[in-house]
């Protein structure tokens, strides 16, 4: 974007076009060939943009790898940080000049702060860290970006890469916990929690048990939090008893329901519990077809009507399962795929 990029020129008003610079007289600018008069493929540029990129094409054409060419790439990046060709040329120059990579890391930090949703800038950072084999700044750096945008996909991806590549797991759960205390609905943080546990201690029995306590506490604070309920279901994937046999969870859900809470995620989980019991032929007076049907009806009509078709489907699927010996016929006549998929839904 033009407005923010202009700041990267030290002083916009004193900007001198490359074509007017004495020390650039030896380079021949190369114009963009853009394929004709037609608007679909032709491009309109501002004079400054055209000037910088004409000279960039000029140095790239002769393969000049010099300090001034490096500075020129910074001007080009300031105008368009998403141009991956420029970034690649910059890296070629850095290599050739054996430039100070610690300085480059500071440079890319500034650029990312301005363009934090851009793929190329993050990729550049990663390459520099790999070249340096120094990951000591990555956690603090990504943390700084996440202060402004706690769900920034690129920042999380970079952070996960650094943690996994350089084994930086220590303290990460505490960090995730602090993020969840700031915003209990931060889905990226919940995902990170899963990432850390999965890649370290693993979801062994006592970890699952501790995590169940953790997430139930969070759900109790905000029962309408999709992310926490998803995490709970993810945890129960690792529970040998399945969805419906963890007493902490079932007690929690029943109490919440009895207290009058009608979070669609609470009702949905109870429906899934009934579904699991029916599939396993282990219905009881709490988890059975009658209750599943009533909950689906409540969800479809009052609690979550925008998804009424889903709830109607669940109701039908579960009824058919209950009435069908093999438990396979999900939606009459839809074939084996349908049945397999219905099976998959209660694999959890």
């Amino acid at each position: 974007m033009g407005d923010s990029s202009d700041e990267e020129f030290q002083n916009s008003e004193s900007w001198v076009f490359y074509r007017n610079r004495d020390d650039w007289k030896d380079v021949e600018p190369v114009e963009q060939e853009d394929g004709g008069e037609y608007p679909v493929v032709s491009i309109s540029y501002t004079p400054k943009f055209k000037d910088v990129y004409d000279y960039l094409r000029g140095v790239m054409k002769i393969g000049e790898k010099s300090q001034r060419a490096l500075d020129l790439t910074a001007d080009a990046i300031a105008l368009n940080a998403a141009n991956y060709t420029v970034w690649q040329y910059r890296r070629d120059i850095l290599k050739e000049l054996k430039s100070d990579l610690a300085k480059e890391l500071k440079y890319i930090e500034k650029v990312i702060q301005r363009h934090c949703k851009n793929y190329q800038v993050w990729h550049h950072r990663r390459v520099i860290v790999e070249w340096l084999q120094d990951s000591s700044k990555e956690l603090k750096f990504t943390q700084g970006i996440l202060v402004f945008d706690a769900k920034n996909y690129h920042a999380w991806q970079h952070r996960q890469w650094a943690i996994k590549t350089f084994g930086l797991y220590e303290g990460e759960l505490e960090y995730v916990d602090s993020l969840l205390r700031d915003d209990i609905r931060n889905n990226s943080a919940w995902n990170q929690r899963y990432f850390v546990i999965n890649n370290t201690i693993g979801f062994v029995d006592d970890v699952v048990s501790k995590e169940v306590e953790y997430v139930l506490e969070k759900i109790e604070t905000v029962p309408l939090n999709e992310s926490a309920w998803n995490y709970l279901k993810g945890l129960l994937l690792h529970d040998k008893g399945g969805l419906s046999n963890n007493v902490k969870v079932t007690t929690f859900c029943e109490d919440l329901y009895m207290s009058g809470n009608r979070s669609p995620f609470l009702l949905a989980l109870i429906v899934d519990m009934c579904d699991e019991r029916i599939s396993n032929k282990a219905e009881d007076d709490k988890y059975n077809l009658k209750r599943a049907s009533e909950l689906c009806h409540e969800l479809a009509t009052t609690v979550d009507p925008i998804r009424c078709r889903y709830w109607e489907y669940m109701s039908t699927t579960i009824s058919k399962k209950a009435g069908c010996e093999s438990g396979e016929d999900a939606e009459g006549g839809d074939g084996p795929e349908e049945a397999a998929a219905a099976g998959a839904s209660h694999d959890v």
């Binding site: 004709g36 540029y45 925008i306």
Partner: protein
């Protein structure tokens, strides 16, 4: 559910309520002609994808002829790198898989694959597969499930799926499946509707939708619908027209399209048009662009809008083009 996001969008009485097709045709035809359109000027590195967005949107409206076929085909030709075989976003730029797929989509719409060196493209895609089955976007680059999708999309359009190790490629995509049934960019990356579309599309092309936890994922996807009717891409994020496409197309491949409230979504998409300039934006009142215009129209087409051609949910191209190529991506009933 997004009860924390009160007033998620500022829809008011002034937003459009009808589909403004003629406006969109002129918007796409003239996009970039305006000298003041700096946004377009700086995006030369993705010109090729821009051509695909504009062209497909026009084709869905039955207005393919509004753009000059020969000039576009010539542009694509000039963007092919003779050495690697890959195609770049703009003439003299470096090739990239994202632009290679757009270029092939454009040439398939025109039925002009003869214009480029097809073997070169196949060689290029093949060169980007890594030992673990994943793909990078260019020879420098990063691994991402987006690139797995681009690779098979390109090769299937060229009928050359045999050029890569499909089983390995499936294995990698499967390793990116999360506990919520969704997919992220890499193993254990957060589920994201755009990446879910890429992974479901990938599995549709490779005929492996069986590995998906169908109803778990489809529920997660229909949970993206917010009280405004619009769809977001992750829990607790704002709705955006482009997610209408990514969520709907995925649900369509999974045979669960009807779990979305069409009337509410249609109302949201239509409200994201600009009644003066034409085009769609991410949310009501924002600046419109070809990207959101294509995905807004494609989503309306999936919901059966009679004024538009049918779109194929896997390829995001007119169904008639896919039929002509005799491609049968897997779609669950």
């Amino acid at each position: 559910m997004a009860t924390s996001m009160v007033n998620e969008v500022k829809g008011d009485d002034s937003v459009p309520k009808e589909l403004l097709l003629e406006k969109h045709v002129s918007f796409l035809r003239e996009y970039g002609q305006n000298e003041d359109n700096f946004e377009y000027g700086i995006t030369d590195y993705l010109r090729m994808s821009g051509v695909y967005w504009g062209l497909t949107a026009l084709d869905l409206m039955g207005k393919l002829k509004e753009l000059p076929e020969n000039e576009i085909v010539e542009f694509v030709q000039k963007c092919q790198d003779p050495e690697s075989g890959g195609i770049s976003g703009c003439i003299n730029h470096d090739p990239h898989l994202l632009h290679t797929v757009s270029a092939i989509q454009v040439l398939c719409i025109y039925d002009r694959l003869d214009a480029i060196n097809v073997e070169g493209v196949i060689k290029y895609v093949k060169s980007l597969q890594k030992d673990d089955g994943s793909f990078t976007g260019d020879k420098w680059g990063e691994v991402d499930t987006r690139f797995s999708f681009c690779a098979v999309l390109t090769l299937s359009l060229l009928k050359r799926m045999d050029a890569i190790d499909v089983d390995k490629a499936v294995e990698f995509v499967e390793s990116c499946m999360n506990f919520d049934g969704g997919f992220g960019s890499r193993p254990l990356s957060e589920s994201h509707a755009g990446l879910i579309y890429c992974c479901v599309g990938f599995l549709s092309i490779t005929q492996r939708l069986d590995i998906i936890k169908r109803d778990t994922l489809a529920w997660w996807l229909c949970e993206r619908q917010l009280p405004s009717g619009g769809l977001n891409g992750r829990p607790e994020k704002l709705p955006d027209v482009c997610y209408s496409w990514w969520v709907l197309s995925s649900l369509s491949m999974l045979g669960r399209l009807h779990w979305i409230d069409f009337a509410a979504l249609e109302k949201f998409i239509v409200s994201c048009q600009d009644s003066e300039t034409g085009g769609f934006s991410d949310r009501p009142g924002d600046i419109t662009d070809p990207y959101h215009t294509l995905f807004g129209l494609a989503a309306l087409s999936l919901m059966g809008n009679g004024a538009l051609k049918r779109v194929n949910p896997t390829y995001c191209m007119p169904q008639e083009v896919i039929d002509k190529l005799e491609l049968k991506p897997q779609i669950l009933n």
